[in-house]
Symmetry: C2
Subunit: 180 residues, 2 copies
Amino acid sequence: MTTLETYPITVGNVTRHVPLVETLPGMRIPLIEFLGDTELVEEAARLLKERVPEEAEMLFSLECSPVPLVHRLAQLTELPYVVARKRRRAYMEDPLIQEVPSLTLGASDTLWLDRRWAERIMNRKVALVMDVVSSGGTMKALDRLVQRAGGKVVGRLAVFQQGKREFDGEVDYLYEIPIL
Amino acid sequence: MTTLETYPITVGNVTRHVPLVETLPGMRIPLIEFLGDTELVEEAARLLKERVPEEAEMLFSLECSPVPLVHRLAQLTELPYVVARKRRRAYMEDPLIQEVPSLTLGASDTLWLDRRWAERIMNRKVALVMDVVSSGGTMKALDRLVQRAGGKVVGRLAVFQQGKREFDGEVDYLYEIPIL
């Protein structure tokens, strides 16, 4: 039997002892999963609601781990939401394509935003929503997508900031978690 | 200006006029999107709740379009849920890997289920949840994953059946939608 090291993660009144995973040699991070955890999502959405700027007219996130969070936050704030996809879908017409800036070579991601969704963002004040921000590259890509779609970013929200952010742009996060 | 043909989709008290998209030459399907539509998800979850077998101990789905639906259904039924991923994640250890059987060559998908999640399915009675079923290949892959993880499938639920199912296995769906 292997002993799995865990790390305690707390969001409001919910605590989870999550596994520590080694994503790069010598770098261990607590593995936080909102997908499949209704209690954790509920508590995070409740707390993030207070951080959504009054002027925000829409929420924007990406697939897939932040989806339950942004969905519930949209319900609580009664704002519409849009998510960027990580794969091209057959039905997409004239999508906006945005590379995620990355610090590590060869591990780049691409975000796809169907034109019909981009049109919903146009002229809207948008709050970006993520579960976990680390270098900030993904948040930066969401930011660029909103700008390119003709919207205005009025907030960048996250539940967790993990390690040090390398890309510019303020993020309003609830908790910090370490890289061990 | 292009005229976009739409098709009316109804779930309970919610109707959407969704675009018709041509996924294969000469084959048009109504494009149904639960992602980003809190009203549609809410209504579908409310109706699907009645179809979840009494004996079900867990829900199982896949990323990403069914995620808001299975998340809300899990909240309403107070059952835990697990989702299979469509990409390998760096943190996965000894994952179950399942090909999605496909009728069209070269368009195959692969599902990944981390061992830690598979262990939660073991010895559990599981209801499969999808938004849209067409050939039934994805439902079949979910079925196989549950079996391989040592669980028992006690229900196969979907909001929509689109066209004709080609793979075996009964599906309890709410509505039929055509291929035009």
